[in-house]
Symmetry: C2
Subunit: 186 residues, 2 copies
DNA sequence: AGGCTCATGTAACCGGTTACATGATTAT
DNA sequence: ATAATCATGTAACCGGTTACATGAGCCT
């Protein structure tokens, strides 16, 4: 129910529609938690059922009607409890089908697995470039409270940046080793 | 069906039972792909149905009977196709409920989120220590073919090591910033 | 005329988790 | 005795993905 807490987190900043939430996830959490619109709408229903959020339909003439959700007191409590629980045990492990492929890379000739790693490295590099554009969008906010929030947003951006850089350096080392191996074999 | 390919990858090294596979996943892939025994047994059934593996019951007198699975030609083809496809687009993104918590850390006082980050850092450090023991177990193998395989195993271990180190350094920076903030406020 | 943005959803499916169930042998 | 290891599975559930459906208004 992590997605649910993510939604509660956004609604804790202020009321939003499902559509707004989809956008919010896309523009800020997508690096470590990307969510489909279908699932967000489903989760909103669940949260409403639990009494964590309240939905109110807003009739619009020029655009389709929308439903604006607000967090309830119970929702705030649930969200704060989740936050307060801190780092769970599983914070250190993650899933990667790509690393599984690397693990079994010995079934391919070095040239082929080197290509795979080069592709990965290139993907990381384009990702970094795209990232370089966003920091400004987080930018500077007015109040101190908002500045305090952005500190944490910066933390996650920083994490993403370091993570990708580590990936690039690692891939470069692997490629180097495979190239050396190819030269030795010649 | 990544888990399925992982199983095929192991069976490509040689026949194994479901139990053996559970152990194999635990001891080598667990950093980036941990799997429950229940799911491995389910996946084995699916793979058998698809004709990618063959199961043969072995009757044992001293221990419970077991079912030894071997990869078929079709299975080998499917596995090699998956490998050859190389790095998929999603190789760069991963999911982390912990980072989502950090993202919403602005809802807590700095002392509390610093604690969360300290806990995370400590978890990473114990993880690193545990890791320091394993490299030998991958160790040295006889044939050149085996040595070539272990190169890739070493790659994934190296990735894990760098990843955790990056996490520790990142957490330290975040904690530092939060501590500075607390001092300023005093 | 065609495509984009706003806006909300349903249905089928799949991958994975949690919990439970069984039962023999071997080591401490 | 009892704990661990060997060995295989089922059932309920949940979180998430893919694909599909609808429809109005705005921009080019």
């Amino acid at each position: 129910m992590s997605l649910g807490f993510g939604i509660l987190g956004f609604l804790n900043y202020g009321p939003m529609s499902g559509y707004d939430l989809v956008k919010a996830f896309e523009s800020s959490l997508q690096f470590f938690w990307h969510a489909q619109n279908s699932q967000i709408y489903l989760e909103l229903k669940k949260l409403e059922k639990k009494g964590y959020i309240d939905g109110e339909t807003v009739i619009q003439s020029d655009r389709p009607n929308k439903k604006i959700f607000s967090i309830t007191e119970a929702g705030k409590r649930a969200f704060m409890d989740w936050l307060a629980k801190g780092a769970e045990e599983d914070a250190t492990h993650f899933k990667s089908a790509f690393l599984m492929k690397v693990f079994f890379g010995g079934n391919m000739p070095p040239a082929q697995s080197a290509d795979m790693l080069r592709k990965f490295k290139a993907d990381c590099e384009t990702y970094l470039e795209k990232m370089g554009e966003t920091p400004d969008s987080i930018g500077k906010y007015g109040s101190n409270k908002e500045k305090y929030q952005t500190l944490y947003w910066q933390f996650t951006v920083d994490f993403g940046y370091c993570f990708i850089k580590t990936c690039i350096e690692w891939a470069a080392r692997c490629i180097q080793k495979l190239e050396n191996l190819e030269n030795e074999m010649r």
